[in-house]
Structure formats: structure tokens, C-alpha cells
């Protein structure tokens, strides 16, 4: 198939949709990273095998759809039977035979595979009735879990590339930029800069070449939105980039993909190839004089390469050191040419803005933060996974309505957003609306969308140490305040965790943080002290407990805690088996004892004890 103009694209779409309608039922197997780790590949194989063996009327292997991440990773592997939307969780290969016999050949549901609502214990049959999904609004993740990532036809069937066709046929580049500006779309990679304005500036720079780049580096540990999009809906990224390229006048684009995401590289590569084959990328797209090619650039494991100027140097084969900000990369970026860099999620919003209109998009969310935002909801929350919500929703709604509250009903302590550049938000602010400006105001930031929930057993001092250690590792070392300042901050926090902190440390850290913020060149250094500052602001009492009382209230910092066995011990010997230093002694059915001299406080015994017999002091 090769589509030469917009009419042919429409015809192709009709044909594909008609083809798909031949199967009255469809089986969707989630093949996102989470479900694959839970064994989704075996489920797919089992379906193929059973379907091959039995010939079922109106149903064939083609009606089996391997999609990207649905988001509800906690419950994987997930299987959905369309059009009813029957939602099966934690499916095992041995369940497949039964699914085919009962839910495909007949319209029955299999009770035991349904999701159980943790609030009332009721079984929920349909996908959209599960509270995890029903409170979401999916725009950027619109196709995830619905279409096969490998198949361009699936994307075309859901109006894929229609937005590109529309801009090429009916809109001037200026109109595209105007529309994106009017939609209020702000960059989803962290900073929240207006996408339309960035495109405008780039277009206005006179040059023989412009570049368009997509930031798929997703360096924020604890976030996987961009990964899921690149793996599950790669064509939407390509279409968004192509529209951007048309708007700014670029004919070449790059996607910078993080090295830890091999499947994303494979799926995007495949998507590029099939788009070129059909004629939706390459020369003279849809019979116009617009030509656009996309190359993948693989990252090599450096957080700082997510920063715009570092990313562009890395694409150029150099080391990823940021450069001074007085030259902006929209003016002088890749190979010193005007370049637009946007995040993956920013790009996937573009086609839908073009299709549905700027006003439609601007009406969602809040006036200053329009649209929706995808988050990876992780940590100590019950329903971990990938979610998308309208801007302006409160943290409480996200954590309790979608996330289902804290694991084991423990008390909520804080939620961390914005990754290593963000901060921790305490319980008193749970009703804060989630938008760019509100989060920045309270000392955190939107970031790319990691949302890490913490309960009373997370130590905030240890968390600050964790982020500082990460940043010390990842600082490129170009500026002294970042390289040495963060190093010293880490040393001080570590000392506090080890129970060697002194009263003056807090003030010293505050002063030093100010200097790091003032003296650093790029965002890594400038926002590096944020996790520390926000925990100092909202959880100062924890720092004080470490310094004054030599106590870690959360029971995490090893130098300040002891593990002891109480009389609930049944003598099951489970802890003895996991203790790496043989510090636990005791006979079967007798209460065990921990030898404190030998104990390294690793907590393995605590993790395996089924009888609440191990206590932390």
C-alpha cells in the first residue's frame, strides 16, 4: 500500500475499518513492559496455540491484538474482550482455553478473573467501571491498550495521520502554530513552556535548515509515561513530529531514546519504516512538497542528556555537556541550526489538537494549564500504574480515587513529583490542584510526570540523600557549584542519616543550596537542591529527630535503628534463612533472637516475617 494523497488515506482507513469489522469480537492482550514482566508473552502464545487448534467461527488469530501498556500494571497480565469490554486481570496461560470457550464462543464472563474492588469486595466486569480507569481522562494515552503498536493499519483505523493530512492540505504553517499556541499546550517534559511559542520562535529564525527533536530520554527515575507511549503508540509521536516539522519548516527530525528502553527503539524503528513505506514519512508526503525524515538517536545512560543543549550535543555524537543559556537552542541548536525540542507527550497531543481544535483542548484542565497530564503513579500506593488526568485535579483524587489509597492502609506521608528536580508535598497539601504553577509554588514541580507516593515508613532524610546521590552521579561536572556543592550536600545529609549530624548542619545546607541554585549553569544544578529544600521545609522535624535524638522515625536509616524479635515469633525459621550474616539464632518453634553485634540492619528478616514478630526501634 502506498498513499499518494489525502483521499487515498481516507480510503485506506475505510478499508482497514471494514476489514476489522469482520471479527465481531476482539481479544486484547496488554504487552506493556509491566505485563511482559508478568508473563504476557506466554498468554499471547497460548491464545495463538488454542486458536490455531480450534477453528472458531468469525474468529481468527487476526482478532488478537497485542497492545502497549494499559497502565494498570499492578494487575497484569491484562486481557480485555471487546466490544463488551470484559476485563480480566492476572491472567495465566492455563486460563486461556477457558476464556476462549466461555467468553469468546459464548458471552459468559469468568468470575475469578475479574477485578475485585478493594473497597467493597465486589467483582467488576467492565474495563471502564474499574475506578482506576473511570476517574481518568485519556488524551495523550488515547490509543494505549487499544491498538497494536506494531501495526500502522491499527493507527490509521483510529484516525491516525488524518491530522497530518489536514495540515498539509488545509493549513499554512502559521495557522498550525497559531492553533497550537491557542490550545495553550505547555511542554510536558518539565519546564512547561508554551509549545506554540517555541515553534514560532524557531520558525522565525532565518536558516536553510531547521530541526525537530523529540525528547524520549525520560531520565526521571520513577517515571515511565514516555516509554509506554513510545512503545505502545509510536505513530502518534511520529505524526506529532511531522506536524511540528511542517510548522517550523524542518525536513529532518530526531528522536532521542533512552538506552534503558530497547523495546521503544525497536517499535519506533518499525513505525518509521512502515510510515516511510506507506508514504506518510519521506519525500513529498501525501503528494505535497513537504518532505520529512526521522532518525533515532540512542541515549547512552546520562541523565543530563535530557537537558536540551546536552541532548543536541549528544545527538551530534559528543559528550552531553550543557552549554550556557544565552544562546537558545531554538535559535542555535543541533549543528547550530534553529531546533525545536519537545517531549514525547507534548508531541502526541498535537494530532488531537489539530483534529479536534484548539478550543476543545483549551477547555480541558485549567486556564493556565490546559489539557491533561500523564503520570506514573508509583511507590506505596495500592494501584500503581500509568494514568492520565485533566490538569487541576487534586492530589487526593489521584492518590485515593485512582490509586486506591496507601498499601496496607498505612498513613500517607508525602508525594514526590518532578523527579530529581522536584520536591515532596506533605499531607496537608493533598487538596492542591495538580497544574504547572501550583506545584512550582509549593516548591515542587510538574516534571515529566513521576508521582511517587510515600507512607510513614519512608524516611525523608534518606530520600533527600537518595536524590542527592543520584545528582552527584549524574552532574556532568562542568560547573563547580553543581559538581562540588551537590557533593558536599550529599556528604552532610549522609552524615545526618548516619547519626553524626550536628545542629548547624541544617543552616549550612540551606546556605549551600542557595549557592548551588545561583551558580549552576543548567537545570540539573539549578533545581538539584529542590528535593532537599522541600523535605527541609515540610519535614524538618525528621531532620531534627536524626540530629538531636539520633533517631530515624521511619525506621530506615541503618545506623539509627535496631531490629528485635518479639514474642509473636512462632519459631518458623524464615528469618534465619534470609539473614546474610547469620545474626539470628533459635530453634524451630522457639522464639528467635537477633545478635545485635552481627546484625547489619538490612531488614531482610522484617521483610519475610509473616507474624509481625520483628520490630524496628
Amino acid at each position: 500500500m502506498h498513499v499518494k494523497n489525502t483521499t487515498q488515506l481516507k480510503q485506506a482507513q475505510k478499508k482497514i475499518v471494514a476489514e476489522q469489522k469482520k471479527f465481531p469480537k476482539k481479544v486484547i492482550v496488554c504487552c506493556g513492559t509491566g505485563c511482559l514482566a508478568n508473563g504476557a508473552a506466554k498468554i499471547v502464545d497460548a491464545f495463538k496455540k488454542v486458536l490455531d487448534e480450534r477453528k472458531i467461527k468469525d474468529f481468527a488469530v487476526e482478532a488478537l491484538c497485542e497492545t502497549g501498556c494499559h497502565g494498570f500494571c499492578e494487575q497484569g497480565p491484562l486481557v480485555v474482550i471487546e466490544p463488551r469490554g470484559t476485563f480480566y486481570t492476572k491472567v495465566k496461560p492455563k486460563d486461556v482455553q477457558q476464556i476462549i470457550e466461555r467468553s469468546i464462543e459464548n458471552d459468559e464472563t469468568i468470575e475469578k478473573l475479574l477485578y475485585t474492588d478493594p473497597q467493597n469486595g465486589e467483582k467488576i466486569e467492565r474495563y471502564n467501571d474499574v475506578s482506576f480507569f473511570s476517574h481518568q481522562r485519556r488524551i495523550a494515552l488515547r490509543n494505549l491498550g487499544k491498538i497494536a503498536a506494531h501495526d500502522i493499519n491499527d493507527y490509521i483505523a483510529v484516525d491516525g495521520y488524518q491530522a497530518l493530512a489536514k495540515v498539509l492540505k488545509k493549513m499554512t504553517p502559521d495557522e498550525v502554530i497559531e492553533s497550537v499556541t491557542k490550545s495553550g499546550l505547555r511542554g510536558r517534559g518539565g519546564g512547561g513552556f508554551s509549545a506554540g511559542r517555541k515553534w514560532r520562535t524557531c520558525r522565525d529564525v532565518e536558516s536553510d535548515t531547521h530541526y525537530i527533536l523529540c525528547n524520549g530520554d525520560e531520565g526521571d527515575p520513577g517515571a515511565f509515561m514516555d516509554r509506554s507511549i513510545m512503545e505502545g503508540d509510536p505513530h502518534a509521536v511520529l505524526e506529532g513530529m511531522a506536524i511540528g516539522a511542517y510548522a517550523v519548516g524542518a525536513s529532518e527530525g530526531f528522536i532521542y531514546v533512552r538506552e534503558e528502553y530497547p523495546l521503544a527503539v525497536v517499535n519506533i524503528q518499525k513505525a518509521i519504516e512502515s510510515a516511510v513505506e506507506i508514504g506518510l514519512l519521506g519525500d513529498n508526503i501525501l503528494g505535497t512538497d513537504f518532505s520529512f525524515n526521522i532518525k533515532i538517536s540512542r541515549g547512552a545512560g546520562a541523565f543530563v542528556c535530557g537537558e536540551s543543549s546536552a541532548l543536541m550535543r549528544s545527538v551530534g555524537g559528543e559528550i552531553g555537556e550543557p552549554r550556557a543559556k544565552y544562546i537558545r537552542s531554538v535559535v542555535k541548536g543541533l549543528h547550530d541550526k534553529p531546533s525545536v525540542l519537545n517531549n514525547v507527550e507534548t508531541f502526541v497531543n498535537i494530532p488531537i489538537i489539530i483534529n479536534k481544535g484548539a478550543d476543545w483542548f483549551a477547555a480541558i484542565g485549567t486556564p493556565k494549564s490546559t489539557g491533561t497530564k500523564a503520570f506514573s503513579l508509583v511507590g506505596k500506593v495500592r494501584n500503581t500504574g500509568l494514568i492520565e488526568v485533566p490538569m487541576g485535579i487534586t492530589l487526593r483524587e489521584i492518590i485515593y480515587d485512582i490509586g486506591g489509597g496507601i498499601i496496607d492502609n498505612r498513613p500517607f506521608k508525602a508525594v514526590q513529583t518532578g523527579g530529581p528536580s522536584g520536591g515532596c508535598i506533605p499531607e496537608s497539601m493533598l487538596d492542591l490542584p495538580v497544574d504547572f504553577d501550583s506545584l512550582t509554588e509549593v516548591g515542587s514541580m510538574m516534571g515529566s510526570g513521576g508521582m511517587i507516593v510515600m507512607d510513614d515508613r519512608t524516611c525523608m532524610v534518606d530520600l533527600a540523600r537518595y536524590f542527592l546521590a543520584f545528582l552527584v552521579d549524574e552532574s556532568c561536572g562542568k560547573c563547580v557549584p553543581c559538581r562540588e556543592g551537590l557533593y558536599q550536600l550529599h556528604a552532610i545529609v549522609s552524615r545526618i542519616c548516619d547519626g553524626k549530624g550536628v545542629e548547624e548542619d541544617i543552616e549550612k545546607m540551606e546556605k549551600l543550596s542557595e549557592m548551588v541554585v545561583l551558580g549552576s549553569l543548567c537545570g540539573l544544578g539549578i533545581s538539584g537542591p529542590n528535593p532537599l529544600m522541600s523535605t527541609l521545609k515540610y519535614f524538618r522535624n525528621e531532620y531534627e529527630a536524626h540530629i538531636r535524638d539520633k533517631r530515624c522515625p521511619a525506621g530506615v536509616c541503618r545506623e539509627l535503628i535496631t531490629y528485635e524479635i518479639n514474642d509473636k515469633c512462632t519459631g518458623c525459621m524464615a528469618c534465619i534463612a534470609v539473614c546474610a550474616t547469620n545474626a539470628i539464632t533459635g530453634k524451630k518453634k522457639e522464639v528467635h533472637v537477633i545478635n545485635q553485634e552481627q546484625c547489619t540492619k538490612c531488614g531482610a528478616c522484617y521483610a519475610v516475617c509473616m507474624h509481625d514478630a520483628i520490630e524496628v526501634f
Binding site: E218, P221, F303
Partner: protein, 151 residues
């Protein structure tokens, strides 16, 4: 270590002969040999006509590269934020003590290497451990042994 470098010219030929190709070539060499053998770096520098120091600059800047050989099974422990909060340190302790090496090291028999990474993008399944290309989610102290033994 002795290597068969017959594949090297082919790897270098995948890319145009320009300094810009360096990163891609090094990534492919890393993939082929699981580390960057010194001999390969020298040959790459010569082929692209750039100083060896430049090749080392790139090789040491990026975390993806290793100048030391890796074991057959590379155990990558995620210590990203989500995994950290859900106890990756404990998992790391267990793996280190069971293999008798620390993160960043390789066992003498070249069977295992341990690496720590900040997020592999499966955060909903924290804590996560990857053995070569296979991911294990919700890892518990009690299934570390099984994961290490898995093929």
C-alpha cells in the same frame, strides 16, 4: 582477554566515517562484546581519524559503556526512586551477598556481573531486577535465589 575482532570492521561500516558516528559505533561495540575492549577503541579511533583521547572521553562520560568485561549474566538492579522506596537496597544486599560481589563487579568465573541502574521504566512493578533482557517485578528477598539461577 582475547577477542575475535573480525566483526569490528562491519560494525564500523554501519556508520558514515565521521566523528558524529562515534557514539553509535561505541554502542554497537558495547552490545557485541558487553564492554569496550581497548583494542576495539583503538581501531575505532583510527577508522574515524580522531584522537584516542576523544574516544575515551565519550566512553567514560556515558553510563552505558564499560571498560571492563562483563559476566555472562548481567544482573541489573533498579535503584530508581520507585524501587528505592519499595526496598531495592535490601534486594541489592541480598544479591550482593549471594554472589559475593558488589555492584559494579564481576564474579571471577565471569558468570555474573552486578550493576545498579536508576530506573528501567517498569516502576509500577517495583522493586525490579533485570537479568540480561528479562525483567522481574515485585522482587522479594525470598525469590532472589530463583532469579539468579534462572536462565
Amino acid at each position: 582477554m582475547n577477542h575475535d575482532f573480525s566483526k569490528l570492521p562491519e560494525i564500523i561500516d554501519r556508520y558514515p566515517r565521521s566523528p558524529e558516528s562515534l557514539l553509535g559505533i561505541l554502542q554497537d561495540i558495547q552490545k557485541e562484546y558487553n564492554y569496550l575492549p581497548c583494542e576495539a577503541l583503538k581501531k575505532t579511533a583510527a577508522a574515524l581519524d580522531i584522537p584516542l583521547s576523544k574516544v575515551f572521553q565519550i566512553s567514560t562520560f556515558y553510563n552505558a559503556f564499560s571498560l571492563n568485561p562483563k559476566g555472562k549474566k548481567v544482573i541489573r538492579i533498579c535503584v530508581g526512586t520507585a524501587c528505592h522506596i519499595r526496598g531495592s537496597k535490601l534486594i541489592q544486599d541480598q544479591i550482593e551477598s549471594q554472589l559475593g560481589i558488589k555492584a559494579g563487579e564481576t564474579t571471577e568465573d565471569m558468570e555474573y556481573s552486578i550493576e545498579v541502574v536508576a530506573c528501567v521504566g517498569a516502576c509500577a512493578m517495583a522493586p525490579v531486577v533485570a537479568v540480561n533482557d528479562k525483567y522481574y517485578g515485585s522482587v522479594k528477598v525470598t525469590n532472589v535465589k530463583k532469579i539468579l539461577r534462572s536462565k
